[in-house]
């Protein structure tokens, strides 16, 4: 008999060892006390503490949804929490429907038992809620949640009115009228594919529209900078008060003198006012990088106001002093990224090591047999400012047949004379690793830069070679 007990004890202890350790994922998803006899709708009715919210659920027809066989999660505000809700929401059937949908999500989300566990949940009104541990946006989830046969009902201590997204907030805000007006008027006309007549399809499946299709205005900020309406993304957006907007635009006016609002100084200001990601005020660093890759200098003292939008955060600031050198940056044109060639020849896109053993990529066209063979380079939207221009071309590295010195020329397109003019004649000595200063260049106007690298006027091998690592344009700023 004692043996028998020993076996039982052994079994029990093995069982303990096998099952007592749960992993994190299990802890997060563990569900207890499921009541399989009722659905969410019935569960709501049964609890007087949610009577107000339940009234709204019924009024908007969501009670039918919560009876269905799909699984939902409801974060129901208590009567006490909902008492302070804006009467305007209750008065409007559309707003009320949106309000209720702002508390329901498809699928079951239990309260995580791990602190700091963060998930973003898509709600029925297509907004996303951030749940950190038992914190649901600004509210708190009380208790474990009541599981029923088609989901879970959580108790929420906050009314949680629907938040606007950044775009809607901008349009309705009066905190930065100049900036808002500018952005809301940035538009371009595109084909209205919903109304246009489709007369066929291309081989790649794209539709062919009938001639002169109807067009519709579309805001270019959504495409060229960031779509601030997108609920699934999170952005940090800065609104400049009018004085700051005017002064920052004025700083850029001479460099971006375009009259097209899509290219003018105000555009070059606002394109760097959106940062990807959510940076609450306590996590703001002194510099962020905009979606356009420009440094955004942040001073907490300049923040006048902030708004937690459904897809990020908006800061209203009275100053955002961009550095000119970030807004009118130095840039390089890489030799191995040409726009075109004057003739179809074998082009070598090379990977080499320089004198410091650092790998770099360049372009070489060797023994092509074309006098004045040319490679074309372009750079769109060139700011209007005087540049110092440098070139780097290394010949004679291992594997390179060009071991003799040779001459190549750089031409730049003059929009006034409508012709390429000689900019610099470059004598390339083998294994000379330094950048060559080619001179100063001032564009005739803001816009497209067209550069041409041209071989000697010869068809001879070793003479007609062209090689380019990069061109570097350094703006001369005050």
């Amino acid at each position: 008999m004692t043996k028998k007990y020993l076996i039982y004890i052994a079994l029990v202890s093995i069982g303990t060892v096998l099952f007592s350790c749960k992993d994190d994922w299990e802890q997060r998803n563990e569900v207890q006390n499921i009541d399989n006899t009722v659905n969410l709708s019935q569960k709501l009715i049964a609890q007087p503490n949610f009577s107000v919210f339940n009234e709204y659920v019924k009024a908007t027809g969501y009670d039918k949804l919560l009876e269905s066989s799909q699984n939902y999660t409801v974060w129901a505000p208590t009567n006490a929490a909902i008492a302070g809700l804006d009467p305007a929401i209750i008065a409007s059937p559309t707003k009320l429907k949106d309000y209720v949908a702002n508390h329901i999500a498809l699928a079951t989300f239990p309260v995580s038992k791990k602190n700091g566990d963060t998930i973003r949940v898509k709600l029925l009104n297509n907004k996303y809620a951030t749940i950190i541990g038992s914190k649901f946006e600004e509210g708190n989830i009380i208790g474990e949640g009541q599981f029923v046969k088609n989901g879970v009902l959580h108790t929420l201590d906050h009314a949680m009115a629907t938040k606007a997204n950044i775009w809607d907030y901008i349009l309705n805000s009066t905190d930065a009228t100049l900036q808002t007006n500018f952005i809301s008027n940035l538009s371009t006309m595109v084909i209205d594919s919903a109304k246009a007549t489709i007369i066929g399809y291309k081989s790649n499946g794209e539709p062919i529209f009938a001639p002169n299709p109807p067009t519709i205005a579309r805001n270019t900020y959504w495409v060229n900078v960031a779509d601030l309406r997108d609920e699934s993304q999170q952005y940090t957006y800065f609104m400049l008060q009018n004085a700051a907007f005017t002064s920052e635009s004025a700083k850029l006016a001479t460099y971006y003198p375009s009259i097209d609002p899509n290219f003018n100084s105000s555009f070059y200001l606002v394109k760097d006012l959106t940062v990807k990601g959510l940076y609450p005020v306590n996590k703001l660093p002194d510099t962020l990088i905009s979606v356009g890759g420009v440094k955004v200098p942040i001073s907490k003292a300049a923040i006048v106001k902030s708004y937690n939008a459904s897809n990020g955060i908006v800061y209203v600031v009275n100053a955002l002093p961009f550095r000119l050198k970030d807004k009118v940056p130095e840039f390089k044109i890489e030799g191995e990224k040409p726009f075109g060639f004057s003739a179809n020849r074998t082009v070598l896109y090379r990977t080499k090591l320089d004198d410091l053993g650092k790998p770099f990529n360049d372009i070489e066209v060797y023994n092509h047999g074309v006098a004045e063979f040319s490679i074309f380079y372009i750079k769109p939207n060139l700011p209007f400012v005087k540049y110092k221009v440098y070139a780097k071309a290394i010949a004679g590295l291992p594997g390179d047949s060009q071991v003799a010195a040779f001459t190549q020329r750089f031409f730049v397109y003059n929009t006034s004379t409508v012709a390429y003019t000689l900019f610099y004649t470059h004598l390339v000595n083998p294994l000379s690793y330094a950048e060559v200063y080619m001179g100063e260049y001032t564009p005739q106007q803001f816009g497209l830069l067209q550069f041409r690298l041209t071989a000697a006027n010869s068809t001879a091998k070793d003479v007609s070679t062209v090689i380019l690592d990069y061109l570097r344009f350094e703006p001369i700023l005050p």
Binding site: T351, L353, P398
Partner: protein, 576 residues
Amino acid sequence: MNLNKRIAALLMLSVLMIGSWSCKKMFDVAPEDKLDSSNAYKNVTDADAAVMGIYGQFLQLHKLYILQNELRGDLVDVTAGASLELKELSAHTATKTNPYVDPRPYYNVIINCNDALKNFKAMLDDKRMSVDDYQKHFSDIGALRSWIYLQVGIQYGSVPYITEAYETVDDLKNLGNLPRLTFDQLLDKLIEFTEKLPYKSLYGYPTGNSLLVTIDGNSTQKLFITKPFLLGDLYLWKGNYLKAAENYALVMNGENNNSNGNIYFNYYKINNFVDNTGYTRMVVSYGRYQDESSLVNTPDDGWRGIFGLPTTSNSWNSEWMWAIPYNPAYKPVNPMINLTSPVKGYQIKPSQVAIDLWEDQNQYSGIPYDARGKLSYNSSFSGNAITKLTDNGGKWGIYRAGLLHLRFSEAANRDGQTKLGWAFLNTGLIPTYYVGTLVAGARTPATEAELNTMITPYPKESPYYFDARKNGTDLSAIWYRNAGVRGRAGVTAIDISYQTDMLGLENKLLDEAALELAFEGNRWPDLVRTARRQGNPAFLADRIYQKLLKSGNPDAAATRTKLMNPANWYLPFDWK
């Protein structure tokens, strides 16, 4: 438990036992459609069938061979999803219960070799087979057995050396209790046996033999072991470097007397020629020199063609002496596909050590890495996949010219001919040995004495004698195309100071083996052989340590300490 239950249990047991054993006699009649050992060997066709059968069984050792030799080395690492057994093998923590440690697969083939050898002898005695046929069949299977024993010795150290035939499984069970030879004693036995084989030509069977056929697009010519290569290996392990070099040189010069110039200039000589008649295209090449994007990276051409071309191609045959192809249309399936492919099992991948070694090289074209890396594995978002073993269905490639030249260099170097080893490793014979007139950088001998500097300075009978003379179109000696292993890959030669630095060159040869032969199943033996010879366990331990360190294994240092004791290089030989 009450009595009834006990009786029921006993009854059940007895029913089971009856099921298991009582029917033995009923089924123990002679089968009509299967050969019994008593009448399996009637004529030379049966002997041919026995040879093919043994090679078929031998092919099953492929997976074990690659895993034991590469995963234990420093060039192959396990993937995150690898099985526990492979992870243990890679980290040198495998115990005797690990299936990749079991020596029995080797002995299964050895036992079959023994059986065939006994029967070949019996056929000769009964005049069922001619002396000529006997010599070839016996030597082929005998040499194959020696090769397997060499493997067993490398992996397990002290092993039993069985040469008699066993007919029943029961005899095999006692094998674990037989006396064991040390690795050194085993090498002596293997050299003695293999040297005495009656037929030691380059190829197992001469042209016209009934075993040489082309079947399903594959030629059987290179299916059989290359005996001089094996002898070279045995002598190299033993430390008899001159004899090793002699045997390797026999292979290197094996096609010198062929009447076809494309064959005698190219076969087994490592060159960087690209000819369009399809005799040699094994060079790392670019569509546009200097431009890395134009690398010829296809299993049907260039250096990667070594692994992907069919066994019927002249180009493939200029490189390989011994390889067994898989046919994707038939079983067995190449086991490497499942091991290496990220869309299949994906158990093994190139180690960071191997990748870094390729990255550390420079090409003559200025491209700052060794393209053989790209041609050996494929890098994609799903992981690094070793392609070398699976290109166009894959083969079990055992002996090829790249390996041959590195082994010859190793032997020559240890025999005091360091400069010759340097030549075959780097730029080939002419650039290393030529002293004379240059016209616009081209070697243009002005006198006969200058021309003769293109012959290596040894007597004609020496294994180190190579005639590489080339004088315009007047004279093209048989070795003039030799370009060196690194030369063929387009990577820059190592410093010429290594022409007089024996130990330094030996280490460089090992590095080159990683670049040229990675994943092919030579790494662990190379490390063991060199560390053994140098009496320097750190040579091996440090390399394994680097692999484990770079893959983030926390026990890297402990494993290094363990491998500093040569006894721990060998797998436990356990007969279950």
